[in-house]
Point group: C2
């Protein structure tokens, strides 16, 4: 793990970029005399780790006492794409522009992305837990499909806060019943591109006994600020 740059934010949080083999990442850590719990934070559908809303969420969560890490996993963010990825994305754009049913093309884009992203997240987790400033336990926040696959394959994930605003491949919808960690699912009631009923069905499907749904009025990017607070309070209950 190689740290490339760092800056100290006004609230004392240290923000560092790193590379881990081919994986670029950012790590935010709060000032703390003792090792802190860790939150892995990903954006739905592989959006870049530099996306301002993710950065704001990471900084807020770090200031609340968590080490927070985000990466561009294989095929995500600014990472190179395979020819198949590029073709699948072009097909998706055409389908959306034409107003055609997009499930199959979403499946072709997001399905492989999730499968390849999760190993990079596990590699990152191994490296992060080797740092003296990070203790555990480990939570996950954000991209629902990756969160499901990670929670099912990675026993170190102790709690997950998921945002329903992204396509969840059939494989992860099927895996949802195997998820047993405490969950908070965040839903925007009128999310333009993500059918509400599908999110409600997913919430119903999760196998965990301790799951909470927060739904707020509004579109995809309209999540109210207080859900940031609620998210860290959820992690406080399970990681501290």
């Amino acid at each position: 793990m190689h740290f490339a740059s760092e800056q100290r934010l006004d609230d004392g949080v240290l923000e560092r970029t790193f590379t881990l083999g081919e994986i670029p990442g950012t790590l935010w850590t709060p000032p703390s005399a003792t090792p802190v719990p860790l939150v892995l934070m990903a954006h739905n559908n592989g959006l870049p780790k530099s996306q301002p809303r993710l950065v704001a969420r990471a900084r807020y969560t770090a200031a609340a006492g968590y080490a927070v890490a985000s990466i561009d996993a294989a095929g995500c963010g600014d990472r190179p794409r395979t020819a198949a990825d590029t073709q699948a994305r072009a097909a998706l754009r055409r389908a959306v522009a034409a107003g055609e049913p997009a499930d199959e093309v979403f499946e072709a884009v997001v399905g492989p992305l999730v499968e390849r992203a999760v190993p990079d997240w596990r590699t990152t987790l191994d490296a992060l837990l080797g740092l003296p400033e990070i203790g555990g336990p480990v939570g996950y926040s954000g991209w629902t499909a990756v969160g499901i696959h990670l929670a099912v394959t990675e026993p170190r994930i102790a709690a997950a806060g998921l945002f329903a605003g992204g396509y969840v491949p059939r494989a992860q919808r099927a895996e949802a019943r195997q998820v047993t960690v405490p969950l908070l699912l965040l839903l925007q009631w009128d999310d333009e591109g993500n059918p509400r009923q599908r999110a409600l069905d997913l919430f119903d499907a999760f196998g965990t006994r301790e799951k909470t749904l927060h739904a707020n009025l509004g579109g995809h990017t309209g999540t109210p600020w207080f859900e940031l607070e609620d998210g860290t309070r959820f992690f406080d209950r399970h990681l501290k």
Copy 2:
């Protein structure tokens, strides 16, 4: 308004019983040098104000800095029932015991109860706002149907936290679109007697722009303790 008894709780909250004409009530007030906001707290379907879960919720909310009041409104709790009420309740018990569709009998029991309860709540509100220790603004917590009718008819209600676990008469389902105050709707995902879809439809119907749904796994009485905290934090955003 006549105070009949009082006790000081361990956390400094003063718990007083009162009567206001024929209306019996309980008022909880926190220690405070300045007037505090008020929360009116009612149990679904007219359960008594002495019910332990309501009392626990009221004491918690008062300790968080609110005056909290609960009454047995007309026909509710231990108040006398009309002959029609008694007949309607007997019909409801028969329908439930026989496993018959109970909507019409619920309508006959709860519909008149809501219509008659709301004037008593407004009378109580007038009296409470005359007390020097109570300022405002005013929130409402609990019984959904009464909350809807009160929010629509009483402009002093500034925010409402509603529990979906109770029958909402057709008149109040129709009124939901007129509710414009900030709302938090609390839903138990597997509430035995209250269809989930009906609660989701109600959430969808509310006319307010600032509405949040919290759903938790489990049956009618299984609401997790952290929803008490979330409830006062909701009021903190809108009443403080």
